[in-house]
Amino acid sequence: MSSITRDEVAHLARLARLQLPEDELEHYAGQLDAILHAVARVTEVAGEDVPPTSHPLPLVNVTRPDETHRSLTAEEALSGAPAAEDSRFRVPRILGEEA
């Protein structure tokens, strides 16, 4: 397994929306590298023929009927909002655009 660099940690932090200072990047790089080396043994054991498990139990087809329930009021929905305006969540200006 390749080791994880400071730059890679910076990339991960960006992907994960974590604004980390320089010294923390170094610190995490060391720790993540150690953890990844410790867990890399998972790659040694399972062959091609082993199916992956995403759900611990083999349930399928769990659905609900297409019926409406009572929604929250706008007040309840906005009750935890750091900022609200005109019954909407107020957020800082958005730079990017949606994918």
Partner: protein, 508 residues
Amino acid sequence: MTDTTTDLVRLSATETAGVIARGEASAADVAKAHLDRIGAVDGAVHAFLHVDAEGALAAAREVDDKRARGEEQGPLAGVPLALKDVMAQRGVPTTCGSKMLEGWRPPYDSTVVTRLRAAGVVILGKTNMDEFAMGSSTEHSAYGATHNPWDLDRIPGGSGGGSAAAVAAYEAPLAIGTDTGGSIRQPAAVTGTVGVKPTYGGVSRYGLVAFSSSLDQAGPCSRTVLDAALLHEAIGGHDPRDSTSIDAPLPPVVAAAREGAQGRLDGVRVGVVRELSGEGYQPGVEQRFHEAVDLLRELGATVTEVSCPHFQYALSAYYLIAPSECSSNLARFDAMRYGLRVGDDGEHSAEEVMALTRAAGFGPEVKRRIMLGTYALSSGYYDAYYGSAQKVRTLISRDFAQAYEQVDVLVSPTTPTTAFPLGSKLEDPIAMYLNDLCTIPSNLAGGAAMSLPCGLSPDDGLPVGLQIMAPAMADDRLYRVGAAVETALADRWGGNLLTQAPELQEKA
């Protein structure tokens, strides 16, 4: 504090319910006794993040009113409970031990809370935990660590250290925990209490703030096996709000606990997992575990050694799967809709505010796991890390399936060591992760597992936990075997293990 109130907090949940049902004490008196106890000892233990005295007393009075009207009530009516702060409770602060959610009051109840209310259980408040349930010591709580009532300089386990410590410190006879890799069982083991991780899908996750969705499971914490069974029954069963909830009747856990308490385990086949012992296990822990296995034989069980060769990969698989899911589950904490917001000064963009808030709001362990998970899921690494980990998960499930062809339950120590000193592993994540060595396999496979006290380690005098594991939807087996062991040990000790715990200094 009067002797009566002291007595009230020492009762089991079953006894407490009896006292209330017979009118020997009101539910309000019981609630007050516990609130007093919290006031007296929690300064030292720090099991609670929020005490909802008003809500608790209101719920208790409702139970008393119903009793006065002669209404039929459930077997836990009026019994106080401590709720892990990862469970949404309408209008009550729910922080998950994180700065990120400081002050957040959910506009809805989790299914567990809904069912507790329906059962007349009195919720005293919210308990401390490692931030977003990531940790094995509660030291990763943003609000300070919880202290082990057996030795205040030691960890109470984690992530649900607050729930276990509250139960061990007689602040509540019952608590709700959640277990992703051992967060109910490991704290139970190191605090000398009982903790059960039900079958995945056995208790609704609706309202449980997700750490790792395919592993998380809520369950009971208590001082006795029967109490755990009663709480398990109160919160368990199918919930249409949780797609992964099992649509089948709950196994008869209470009946099994009562049956087990009769004492004999003739015909029960017990497997000792060969791979969960040896290097890294504290000698005192192994000693008490072997004695427990001997006890199982004495009670009539057939004990054999079984091998689960892939358990050695469980920890590695877990530390890829859980962080991967957490990196996605915790993405919603972005300062837009609820919780902390940092840097909203009119200059910073939404993207910047998200990144500033997440850097300020999450502690180091959460950040580590988010980045680890982000890495494991990223293109180019997915197959090697996340993909391989999911295959290991399959292999571990197969190990369990093969073992359960030979035996009814598996046993192991719950943890490799007893409670370690606060601060001793904080800077070494991998050493911390090793606490969950024995508990993680059950999470990966979705089966049920229990930890109950099996003695004090001769080397440090601290509690040791016996882990019992059972296949999915065979939770009743845990209770039968657990209750039998508990009864036999109580006979030997002249009471349960907690009676041997040092008295906590009560603040006047």
